[in-house]
Symmetry: C2
Subunit: 278 residues, 2 copies
DNA sequence: ATGCCTTACGTTATACGTAATTATT
DNA sequence: AATAATTACGTATAACGTAAGGCAT
């Protein structure tokens, strides 16, 4: 096998025209480079240089071989580039969701420092998620039904249950054990912008309501605490230190429940272990 | 720089699926190969294998990198092939002539063992010779006039003079000091098949003559010795130990002289030194 | 005399094989 | 137990830098 290092040296030499200058660029002693070029000639069993006592130049053979060396070096660069890309990819975890629930259920999975991976999270519809999982754009997706597809593993991993959060002074607070969409429809609610699949639920059962959309979750929480506007929480988003002036009332309808199934490629099923940390 | 040897090992591994088998094919101990693959991973800063205690397989990264490695290895093979071709070329000397005279004038040049080169010799017309010299098909050509072309060197190197060789008993032998084409035209002559430019001379001045063409020069010489048929020789083809029963009569016409000029590419002018050996 | 390449030589680092170790089937 | 990988360790080879030598400008 021809040593690719020597081909690289040849290219550098062709650009400086002298062993001395090349050796400086290559952080190598000049005798070493001289021997390296002799070795290349020996390996190829071909004279590549015209030599005089204090001058060395590429001969016709050398020029021909040089162009091949450049091609190979270009391929080497492509390989290195690919290796870099693959490393980035293997260090990142792309997760797709139909709704944000799993982020609260599996907090360590979604914290880059803990999983030692760069995380990207995207909320999309099921069909899109599945397509992109198969195309390796996602490593892991969460959807709301069981889906058996060749080459994919699918496991049920959680159920999310919707609650309405109202001030203790609110007229709805009397339903504190249970409530239905019908009971609360027609009011105005604070609502996070990114609730994915829950949008469909609300569109279906809360046609007469008004929603004040809020992008920032911290701001939403703050507004909720200092206003009397009802908002929504779920079993996984409820914090232990919830505001004392509010109560969370479970919604009894079947559509107030969302099951979550996690899917990934069979050969990467090991990723699912990450879920078991939580 | 990535060591191309390691890429080759990777390819062999991909074909056997085991380090042990690969190491045998590569005439290498198995621990060495194990370390080599670890080194490749380190150089690329990328995991290429899934390892268990007694099994190692390519992972997704490894498969991707493998295809790049194969491309590079193919380029390496092309380079080696090219080197081989160039070596063949640098060991051969292609000479073109308008007439065979220089072969006799520069005998060592045309003996492969002495010049340490494979020799090919071809007789063609000037225009063809020059074209092929420029296109590197010939390394050296001999033509009959001075020709100044950019990038070529041209030197006058010999003059060939035509003689007619007749038995001492022949009626033409009385002209032993000098003779003209006109004096000898109308006879029958022995003639070599490959006389190149001399054909034109004879076509012009010997329209009424008959020529007995002979491919093999040794046979021609033998026939000449044991017959009374006149033939042609020149100052360079005349042998010292010429047959005693014949005399060589110089032809006086201007067209009985052919000047020879040698041409080669300027950058290869060193080849001309070969002529000086003779 | 100077500059640049090659050869010589002693040293260091690298790559190898053998042997020991580990873990899976 | 057998197989096939990795790790440990001592050795031999190969690559390096310094120093010396040679030849053309």
């Amino acid at each position: 096998m021809i040593d690719s290092e020597l081909l690289f040296y040849l290219i550098v030499f062709s650009e400086t025209g002298s062993l001395l200058k090349s050796s400086e660029l290559l952080h190598l002693s000049q005798p070493s480079l001289s021997r390296a070029m002799q070795k290349l000639e020996a390996e190829l069993d071909l004279t590549l240089f015209d030599r005089s006592a204090n001058k060395i130049t590429l001969n016709e053979n050398g020029k021909e071989i040089l162009s091949y060396a450049k091609d190979i070096m270009m391929m080497m660069d492509h390989l290195k580039e690919k290796a870099k890309t693959l490393k980035e990819k293997s260090q990142s975890l792309n997760i797709g969701l139909t709704a944000p629930g799993p982020i609260y259920q599996f907090p360590t999975l979604f914290v880059p420092i803990l999983t030692n991976k760069k995380i990207s999270v995207m909320i999309e519809e099921e069909a899109e998620l599945v397509k992109k999982l198969i195309n390796n754009i996602y490593d892991l997706i969460f959807i709301n039904r069981s889906l058996k597809i060749e080459g994919l593993v699918c496991e049920k991993i959680m159920r999310e249950h919707l609650y309405v959060s109202v001030p203790t002074t609110h007229f709805l607070a009397k339903y504190h054990h249970s409530i239905s969409f019908n009971d609360i429809d027609g009011q105005t609610f604070l609502l996070s912008s990114d609730i994915g699949q829950w949008n469909e639920v609300l569109d279906k059962h809360m046609k007469r309501s008004r929603f004040l959309k809020q992008d920032d979750l911290d701001e939403l929480r703050e507004i909720a605490e200092y206003s009397t506007i009802p908002n929504f929480v779920t079993n996984v988003t409820m914090s232990k230190n919830a505001p004392k002036n509010r109560i969370n009332i479970p919604i009894a309808d079947d559509d107030a429940y969302l099951d979550f199934y996690v899917l990934c490629k069979k050969e990467r099923a090991a990723i699912l272990d990450l879920l078991k940390q939580d």
